[in-house]
């Protein structure tokens, strides 16, 4: 009955003035640039400094190395962004990836070296774990931070139990895993393509669909979202399930990269990296704010920095100091630029 809320009279007048920002996925790049200019600046600065210091830093090869090294963190940061936008947090992403890694390798082995069985099993476990997280938060009424802190310990334990704490299986005899870990499409590593795919899909979801709108609404004001008829619970469970699935993808890539299922090694600590990237990329940890563009830029910045410091042969202790300092500087610059009044606590 209420299908056409727009009186036709207004249809024409609006057309002329409607465009304040370019619509469609293509506008993304433009929007991204404007929003996160200081991150772009920081990234350019890092690239320039290390590029001057080292001739090979900006080689296509090294750019690919950076991209590949950042892929797994990038995947987790993308989904972390989604959950932070809707007011939650997932500290268990690293453990989830570890569990998925082990499961993928073990299912692969026990299915007589069938890569797809391995991956399907990992994805299924990922989805399951995600739904479990969501259910605990939504129906158990447990604060997301605590619930996923618990998950951090529990899923790690499960991965260790399943694998007996050892690296499991060996997948590099299998063409599919080798392709995932080492293959290239159009000159770019397959892993990087996967990140691009996931990031674009999530970006479109967030910016151009009603689902994304509702996620921002839930994070922005959950009472208002509820009263506006949004099924908060369903959305939250779905978001955690999405995280589980993407973390499983990360786990599968971990297996493909290292050649075997790693219960802990390689996935421990990823949660902090993912959250750092999301926060640096402009997500307000209170929810309702942020986007994939900023997060990816932050991932790129952190990856470029990491690689540059290693390329320069800088001692890991200095690397820690440099990373901490840069993180602060980037955000301070961001704040100065945005010119917000210094009122209350910084969001």
């Amino acid at each position: 009955m209420t299908s056409a809320a727009t009186p036709p009279a207004l249809e024409n007048t609006s057309k002329s003035t409607a465009r304040t920002r370019p619509a469609g996925p293509l506008g993304a790049i433009a929007g991204l640039g404007g929003q996160n200019l200081s991150l772009v600046g920081a990234l350019v600065a890092v690239l320039a400094v290390f590029g001057i210091l080292n001739d090979n830093y900006l080689s296509w090869n090294n750019i690919q190395v950076i991209a590949e090294a950042a892929t797994i963190t990038g995947l987790l940061a993308v989904v972390q962004t989604v959950v932070i936008i809707c007011g939650g947090l997932d500290i268990s992403v690293g453990s989830q990836a570890g569990l998925a890694s082990v499961v993928s390798a073990m299912a692969f082995t026990s299915a007589g070296s069938n890569a797809f069985t391995g991956m399907a099993a990992a994805l299924a476990v990922g989805a399951l774990v995600g739904v479990l997280n969501g259910a605990v938060i939504v129906y158990g009424r447990v604060n997301a931070t605590i619930a996923t802190l618990a998950g951090l310990a529990a899923y790690k334990g499960v991965a260790q139990l399943v694998s007996d704490g050892r690296a499991q299986g060996y997948v590099l005899n299998d063409a599919v895993f080798v392709f995932l870990g080492r293959g290239r499409i159009a000159g770019l590593p397959v892993m990087v393509w996967i990140l691009i795919l996931v990031a674009v899909a999530v970006h479109v979801l967030l910016k151009y669909t009603d689902i994304g709108r509702n996620l921002y609404a839930i994070g922005g004001n959950d009472t208002a979202a509820r009263l506006a008829g949004i099924a908060i619970n369903k959305y939250l469970v779905a978001v955690y399930a999405l995280i589980g699935v993407v973390a499983a993808v990360a786990g599968i890539l971990l297996t493909a990269r290292t050649g075997s299922g790693q219960p802990v090694s390689g996935s421990e600590g990823l949660e902090l990296k993912a959250i750092t990237a999301a926060a640096l990329g402009g997500c307000a940890l209170k929810g309702g704010k942020g986007g994939i563009g900023g997060t990816l830029l932050a991932v790129a910045l952190l990856g470029a920095l990491d690689n540059g410091l290693t390329v320069q042969g800088i001692n890991s202790f200095w690397q820690n100091v440099a990373q901490g300092a840069l993180l602060v500087v980037a955000v301070v610059v961001q704040q100065r630029r945005s010119g917000d009044r210094a009122v209350g606590l910084p969001g």
Binding site: T2, S3, A5, T6, P7, L10, E11, S14, K15, A18, T20, R21, A23, Y208, T209, D210, I211, R213, N214, Y216, A217, G220, N221, T223, A224, A225, R226, L227, A228, G229, I230, A231, G288, K289
Partner: protein, 556 residues
Amino acid sequence: MTSASRPTGDHHPTGAPHPAEARPAGDRPGADRPRSDRPGADRPGTRRPPAGPTGFADVGKHFGTVQALTGVTLDFPPGRVTALMGENGAGKSTLLKILTGDHRPSTGHVLVDGERVELRSPTQARALGIRIVPQEPEIVPHVSVAENVHVGALPTAAGRRLDRAELRRRTTADLERFGFSGLLDPELLGSDLTAAQRQLVEIMRALTGEAKLIAFDEPTSSLSEHETEALFALIDRLRAQGIAVVYVSHRMREIFRIADRIAVLRDGALVGVQDASRTTEGDLVRQMVGRDLSTLFERRAVATDRVVLDVRDVTTDHVRGVNLTVRAGEVVGLAGLVGAGRSELALALAGDLPVHSGSITLDGRPLPPGSPGRAIRAGLGLAPEERKDQALFLHRSIRENTSIAVLERLRRLRFVRRSAERDLARQYADRLRVRTPSVEQEVRTLSGGNQQKVVLARWLARRPKVLILDEPTRGIDVGAKAEIYRIIADLAEQGVALVVVSSELPELLGLADRIVVMQGGRVTGELSRAEATETAVLRLAMADDITTTTAPGAAS
């Protein structure tokens, strides 16, 4: 009452109630302020008598490209109530925020006692004796009302030990003195307060400590007559003490009841200041809007016989046994005092609060309980009372805030059609006269009244079968109010069943076909349009209160 006996009484600006203090005719009664002998007079800015005016000199303010104020020169004489009027977004709140050091002027400066001051923070303004009751109450959620009232100035005993007994005593005493005692328990947590209670806390907060100027930014927007009267009694006392009072409101009646002088703002500029006794409602409206408005509103009765909403014997936590029917095309008004349970009933109908017993049917089908989403899909919409807490996504645009409840209509394959969405937002922004450069503006940058219009736009755009509007015109200016009434009338003509909760009686009397009055969680009576008068409604609203204690402040 007890306040008169305060020996030094510097904790509260209220004191000696003069019997005949209303509207002192003489100008600048600063010399006869009764408090000139108080301690604290040595602090800068509180010297008496004032050496000069307190107010603004050529103040301008812009936010990015939005020019909120231009060249405002205005002073607030002590012992007088200066009303500040203007359309939504005219710049009233911005002006007050500059006065309290919350914003800093882009041009010009603030004067305190004739001296140019650079207010860097609210702390500094407070120290100079400037207080504000802001438009949006700011409540600390997990601490008691008593601590909320005295936040930032808690009483301490030896060292920095918090004196809880003193805190409670002061709060209780204040509640009594201000006439709010029945309405607010000092031990209640901030998070449990209703809209009106929050506003009362904000008012009490401004009245603690030593003040020379108190500004009220729409203090009555969620208060009903009863509390409003108590507040006015209070303001009368402040005036008698020689405190400068600034009063912002869109309610004409209040302005003429309380103001000595009226300053009108239009588009950020001061149009004029005149004596309240020498102006009329029509004059003011003309000054504010720039044209004449027929403020008189007459609605045609278009109610049909088809019952759309049927509420039987509904009981929730604080609402008991409510029966209510609303027909297609009918506007039912819900009246009552603070805490009468109207908002709770509305939320229960919308599925946000548990219904313990009773039945609710919509169009003959039982309304699915437990989820606002399901209620909305069944055809019920609720524009809630608290725009900031319950309705708005402050960091999103007007467009997104308007469309959030109608996305399923605006999407194609789950992709939101931007242009259709923008048209919708713009259509309602134009009709409701939302003052904004574009619909892409973040809602938090809008003035209070304009934010309220965005909330209404969302639900008007949704067009449900039953629309419940909880305090729809909170903080909305006269011009836009008329438009909202017109939209309500339109909706009724289209067969929508409307429930309007409002604490502004004239509004209800003008709008409603029928008025249901609640008190203490129960329906105490129902009045047809013909029967409904202010006295009749108030009698039902205070049915019990008449026998029990009436707040002393309300008597004046």
